[in-house]
Amino acid sequence: MNSTAGDISAEAKKRGKLLVLLEQAQDKLGCLPKEFMARLAASLGLSISEVYGLATFYSFLSPGPSGRNVIRVCKSLPCYLKDLLIESVKREIGVGPGETTSDGRFSFELTNCIGACDQAPAMMVNHDVYGGLTPEELPRILERYK
């Protein structure tokens, strides 16, 4: 009831740092290997369960290895209702959600809302957002990512 900014315990600070550290590692390593998560848990004094739990909650953090470029198609309601995109991406790169192409060029993932509902259907490739997509536009967009 009476927790104010001044009361944040050392415990909370430890957990506060966790997400930032996971994000940085994801950027640098492209994924979050178990060995890394185990070391991070030990160094922050947290349990592995807690680190793994956080890492698997966010669709932008991936525990498994992924391709050089990550395609993230939004599966939240507005995009889902305009659902042609998933099938089109699948046709274009030959693998389905949760898979990586054999040449390691693309990983395909479904993600929760990326804040582009007004441009549904939307997707992200790495850090770039593409909205108002039609199947015809896909090849042109994807060829920019090698």
């Binding site: 009831m1 998560m37 349990s47 680190v51 739990g53």
Partner: protein, 230 residues
């Protein structure tokens, strides 16, 4: 401590600053069902079984985590409240395995008891169950995550009372699950020796003390792989 009055089910009640609606109701002998609440743990507000109607509030509120305020007019068993509780219970049961008849928790199960109190039988919603392999390797605890309703009590009991943080909550939405380490092998932690604090907190048969029958079992455990498995 400041005292003030409020109204529950038409009768005046006396409340003190900082009390929740649930605490005041229970103090006055009104039984509001709860699954994720325990007076020994921090508040969760996850199960939504304890919702009540507060005059002037657009939605029903969770009584376990809503502080009572002076002059509040509360209904704990109105038709609207009971309807909401029944649907919530149906949804909980819809993804809960229908194995009560062979479950170790049997008549000690809070989920089953509250379902009976609410007069909820077979749920209308037919959802795929989330089946997970039985985790009966540890000599200290047996976990059957197919029965888990994600009330967080075990997670909190472990971190707040036992101070061990064995559990975490992983994944998201329908896939979320209470996990141990990387969720890649059955729970078997040495820190659980002589603990078992989480077991009585479990409102379902998901956590149990290992039974002698299971300990004597020598064959490989039956592994059921459902669609919910990663």
């Amino acid at each position: 401590m400041k005292e003030f009055s409020a109204t529950i089910n038409g009768s005046p009640v006396t409340a003190r600053d900082g009390m929740t609606i649930l605490e005041v109701a229970r103090e006055n002998g009104i039984d509001i069902p709860t699954l994720c609440y325990s007076p020994e743990l921090t508040l969760t507000g996850a199960c939504r079984i304890c919702v009540v109607e507060v005059e002037g509030s657009r939605t029903l509120v969770g009584s376990c985590h809503t502080p009572i305020a002076p002059g509040m007019v509360i209904q704990t068993h109105s038709p609207r409240v009971l309807d909401a509780r029944r649907v919530t219970m149906e949804l909980l049961l819809a993804s809960h395995p229908e194995v009560c008849i062979v479950c170790d928790k049997a008549n000690m199960c809070d989920l089953r008891k509250i379902a009976a109190d609410l007069d909820v039988g077979l749920p209308r919603f037919r959802l795929p169950k989330h089946y997970f392999p039985m985790e009966d390797v540890s000599p200290y605890i047996t976990r059957d995550m197919s029965k888990c309703i994600q009330c967080w009590k075990c997670v909190k009991a472990c971190s707040e009372i036992a101070k061990k943080n064995v559990y975490g909550i992983a994944y998201r939405g329908f896939k979320s699950k209470v996990v141990v380490d990387f969720d890649d092998q059955p729970m078997d932690k040495e820190v659980c020796r002589d603990c078992g604090i989480c077991i009585p907190f479990c409102p379902t048969g998901a956590l149990c003390k290992p039974s002698p029958v299971r300990q004597a079992k020598t064959a490989r455990p039956l592994v059921i792989t459902g669609t919910a498995q990663q």
